[in-house]
Symmetry: C2
Subunit: 471 residues, 2 copies
């Protein structure tokens, strides 16, 4: 029944892996050297990559050199270069050399960290880096795994927020269809999506102030109105750094209102969490000790490649109660002793790869000072760009710059704003995100890509001046 | 404000990456060469890895060589070697050289595939490999992205099953608390967990026959009983290869009953899906054209490192309707044209890494014949081991062997069975999973690790004979 294999097997040997592995490393090193020279967005039509690929899996093995050649010929023409230092779009999704090498080792070890016992190092290193980050970001001490809370790595902030909403739902009582989640009008779409996925009947988007931060009084009033209607307020998500403009919700005021009404308070600091490595930004997260859960993504600004979203809870018991199901093939002595963490019970999936390894590599390779240095550099560059915009009569900043995002528009209106964004993006080497707020167009310039420096922001400003004129 | 960086930055340069990258590749090649000689499970106590690590992030950068040294000194003593050819525990969680190199490239490119437009190649290659697998596994043709359905890569089968249950819930009407999900008593824990996370009120575990497959008649009867109670039957999950014993539920009969009562039918072939590369196993999936969704994990038996779970739907519209939320910063021309797939709308998370790349590398590097060869070899080895067990008076097989899992016990009872499992696991080089079924202990021997050959299974049999005697 079995077919004849070349050399007895179809596996690439360790020696072949060594040779091809060196080739791939060299290929990536060259990519790091020239990514800034590549046009950031591909100029292709839908279906064009697909059309270059055959209709079925090849019957026979192909040599690895052919695969690597197709990486250049088929894949690269369809790649958007998120790792270009001219990347000012969305938020950064940074990778970095030590992170890449950590991911490589994790892929090679191929362990499952679903239980402590299925690979103890995967769990314990995750505990340690989660605890390290509590101190590094100035988060509440009880969030450490050595206290009543703890941190776990999930895939994305969407998963973390969804998990928080599931635990909150389980803590509440009543019909799911009557339950309400609150967030500001500027909250990330993952709040609405997570609430929908978790079966909540209502998402109440609370009005914001002129800085796009949630109006705490409006939140309080919304709760009263909903209770009067017979609905059940269950959870609130506040943002430290919204996606639209990095607005900072009043975490303490929201936390106090949430406590008074018995709501679960989840804080979404997916992007801005990394800034808290620097004490001067921590006033933005004042009141975290009133939160029940919190998420931030090292895979955004902390030089750790996707996926790596930290999710913290102040008390791990309701989380584990909501998510623990133990079939017989997963029973084991270590788990039953209660001495270990089984991270399987901290999120929806069962299997999990060794994501803590790359974060450990990054934290040690940069050191706390290295991360702070680059964060401060990015924020300083954003601040400087904001000053240039403020002093230019054709441009108008629309929001404060607490971190690395600059939000502005052309005073000439939506068409002029879109034309400016297009001119920047058509340059090929810089890429920004045009968006809409309060029914008007604006441009988001997010400064935080791993290798973005003053040179790149100056060049971006030059490009803007080409369109709007020098002052 | 910013601190002085050594050489202007804290980043590892491309040249340093090249040097350290070669070191890591060489380290992994050596690991591949010697993993079979390492004791599979570590002999450490809870907290022992943690105790070797400092209490906080180092302030200053550490040299990469120090990190690599700690990989040997801190990490490796706590690793369970899932990639050992003596791995017979749980199911395999295989990696392979081409998969590792695909993951490495994906980490280096660091693109986000949430929208087609955020990196078109990531989406189109995912579409293509998902469509390739429809043919390679003999799945229904309409499941291709070129038809009404389509496949997407999720993190785990738990995520895929949870997603199916959310879509099913949204298709139904009534109170979540009255909704029922059906699965066999032998279904994976992810069904109960997914149903709980999705807010279903009830999970009905349907009795199984003497081969541990769901009794279709009992499923039909359970629906009638629930309807009579005023509950709302919404979804059923059938298994092609249960986790306990790789039992195969009657997919066609379950599908017909599900259609008759308007239930969503999700098929979980997480492990066994890979076997369908060989036509001789496809009778086990007869009736798939009646399924609404389906999942299988290349990260189990298809030599593709975790995470890589394929999720297919027969009709993509209800999936996208349930999961699509479009904030202004994600609007773009390509999406609005309707000409592209935006995989963000196919699962809970927003961000997604380029997981299709490693699967593409694996499929091309092995070719269809290479995958079939190793699958057939594993199944043949399992069949031979089953025959040896059948012919040994002290051993008793408890379930058929449709794929690569051998389930058996010692005729001397639970203690003798556990003692045999312990003797195998204490050997250090082979690792099996002791479990419980029908209140009695048994041993699961899963033959499917990438590098497991006859040599390893013979050696395992020798070890079993050392305990129970030669026949």
């Amino acid at each position: 029944m079995t077919t004849e294999a070349p050399h007895g097997s179809y596996h690439m040997s360790p020696d072949e892996f060594r040779r091809h592995g060196h080739d791939v490393i060299d290929w990536l090193a060259r990519y790091m050297e020239d990514v800034g020279d590549r046009p950031i967005t591909p100029t292709i039509e839908p279906g064009q990559i697909r059309a270059r690929m055959p209709d079925s899996v090849p019957e026979q093995p192909e040599p690895f050199d052919a695969i690597l050649r197709d990486l250049d010929e088929i894949v690269m023409p369809g790649i958007t270069h998120w790792q270009s230092p001219g990347w000012f779009a969305y938020f950064p999704a940074n990778t970095s050399p030590p992170s890449i090498l950590g991911e490589l080792v994790a892929a090679g070890l191929g362990v499952q960290g679903m239980l402590w016992s299925t690979s103890p190092a995967a769990t314990e290193i995750e505990e340690v880096v989660a605890d390290w980050l509590v101190d590094l970001l100035g988060l509440p001490e009880p969030w450490k795994t050595t206290g009543p809370g703890g941190g776990v790595i999930q895939m994305s902030a969407s998963d973390s927020t969804h998990t928080a909403l599931v635990v909150a739902r389980e803590q509440a009582s009543g019909e799911d269809g009557k339950m309400v989640v609150y967030a500001s009008e500027q909250a990330h779409s993952s709040v609405e999506k997570g609430a929908m996925v978790a079966g909540y009947g209502h998402v109440r988007l609370v009005p914001v102030d002129d800085r796009y931060a949630m109006r705490a009084g409006a939140f309080d009033a919304a709760i009263e109105t909903d209770v009067a209607k017979g609905l059940i307020p269950v959870a609130v998500v506040s943002a430290v750094g919204t996606t639209g403009t990095t607005a900072v919700d009043p975490v303490r005021a929201i936390g106090e209102i949430a406590r008074a009404h018995g709501l679960w308070h989840h804080v979404d600091a997916a992007y801005a969490g990394t800034a808290m490595t620097c004490p001067e930004f921590r006033h933005y997260q004042d009141g975290l000790e009133l939160a029940d859960s919190y998420t931030f993504n090292p895979h955004k600004w902390m030089f750790t490649n996707f996926d790596c979203s930290l999710f913290y809870v102040a008390d791990r018991r309701p989380l584990i109660e909501a998510l623990s199901i133990v079939p017989p093939y997963l029973r084991n002595e270590a788990s039953e002793s209660g001495q270990v963490i089984d991270y399987r019970d901290w999120h929806v999936p069962l299997g999990r790869r060794f994501r803590a390894l790359k974060l450990w590599f990054v934290l040690r390779s940069y050191g706390a000072e290295g991360i702070r240095h680059h964060v401060r550099e990015h924020v300083a560059l954003a601040t400087t760009l904001g000053e240039r915009i403020d002093s230019h009569p054709e441009l108008e900043r629309i929001a404060p710059i607490p971190f690395g995002l600059v939000s502005f528009r052309h005073v000439g209106g939506d068409e002029a704003t879109d034309a400016l964004a297009s001119a920047i993006n058509d340059s090929g080497w810089a890429y920004v995100t045009p968006s809409t707020i309060d029914g008007r167009r604006f441009i988001r310039v997010s400064i935080g890509q791993t290798h973005t420096t003053a040179e790149h922001v100056d060049r971006l400003w030059g490009l803007i001046e080409e369109v709007v004129g020098s002052r």
